[in-house]
Amino acid sequence: MSILSMTKTLMKSVFHGPYTLLYPIKKKEVFEHTKGSIEIEVADCIHCGLCQRNCPTGAIQVDRNSANWSIDRLDCIQCYYCVESCPKKCLKMGNQYSAPAVKKVRDEFTNARVSGN
């Protein structure tokens, strides 16, 4: 039976200062493997469509005719199954989160070398 048993912890936190981070003024540091958003080296992409077939949510759309590769940022669940299935290894998991948005955001990448201009 004891009372006031939290006093030591409480006094320690008063003198230590806040343990919380003043986000968004100070950003949290991310680690090397943090799953942020998918990045593509579009010059290496051969538009085979394996990433589109394997994506669990259908966020990736690949169009061979117009050499287009696009991803819906809010549908992506950062599972990086596409990174593992790409035969050319041109997809990468970057460690910065995509920003919050009020509408669906579709990021498009076109392969200038193949698209004919």
Partner: protein, 288 residues
Amino acid sequence: MEMMILKIIAIIILAPILGGLIAGVDRIISARMQGRKGPRLLQPFYDVLKLLGKESLRVNKVHGLYIYLSFIFMILTTVLILSGGDILLAVFSLTLSSVMFILGGYASNSPYSTIGAERELLAVMAYEPMVILAAIGLYYINNSFLSKDIINSSVPAIAYLPAIFLGFVYILTFKLRKSPFDLSTSEHGHQELVKGITTEYSGKDLAVIQVMHWYETVIAMAFVYMFIATAAPISHLYAVIVCIIIYLIEILIDNSFSRVKWKLALKSAWIVTIVLGTLNLVVLQLTM
């Protein structure tokens, strides 16, 4: 006569400002104890301003009326104590304000606020005897119920009434609505009765409830002040320091205890009242 009216107006306006600043400091210190940063100092004022701009949903005609009646009696209590008036009348006016508040809780017919009102009634039963014993103890030493005579005596009241002072500090936890005795409505809102007795209030009524809580804080601190202050000017400084220390201890107690059930709260408050209160009065009777 004009001096008296100016004094009353100054009390009515300055007391909630002081109460709001005390509430702001309370939230910042509580947050630091929990490892967070805490809101800004003037946050309680911003909250009340936000609430004033919202719609008050009233269930029936008397639902909002009781809060305003309770508010009027609370202002009356503050004016009586701080302008040097009769403290026994002030204690009864405070009780009347609590009763109006409880009736407001019953008036809305919601299950959460009904049970919250029952618990508030139990809390009033728990702390009322001690407050009355404190008023009687202060009368005994000074032969007057008027607060301006109490603070003008030559010896501080705490020298004759140490046990009653301790008992009063014990029930201060009920009045200031802090754990472990914040049964009916707590500031955090994370309890089984949602917000207890204040669940059904919104908008301007809820703003009035917050301001009433600030007045109550000032009244509680004024009572503690009366135990220490004497005619010498330096004692007023000591009284303010003791008030600050007592409030900091209350914040520490708030963060160190969980909420207890009403049976334990009632039993412990009455045991403290009976033991400390009657002991002190009996000793005073025998020695004075």
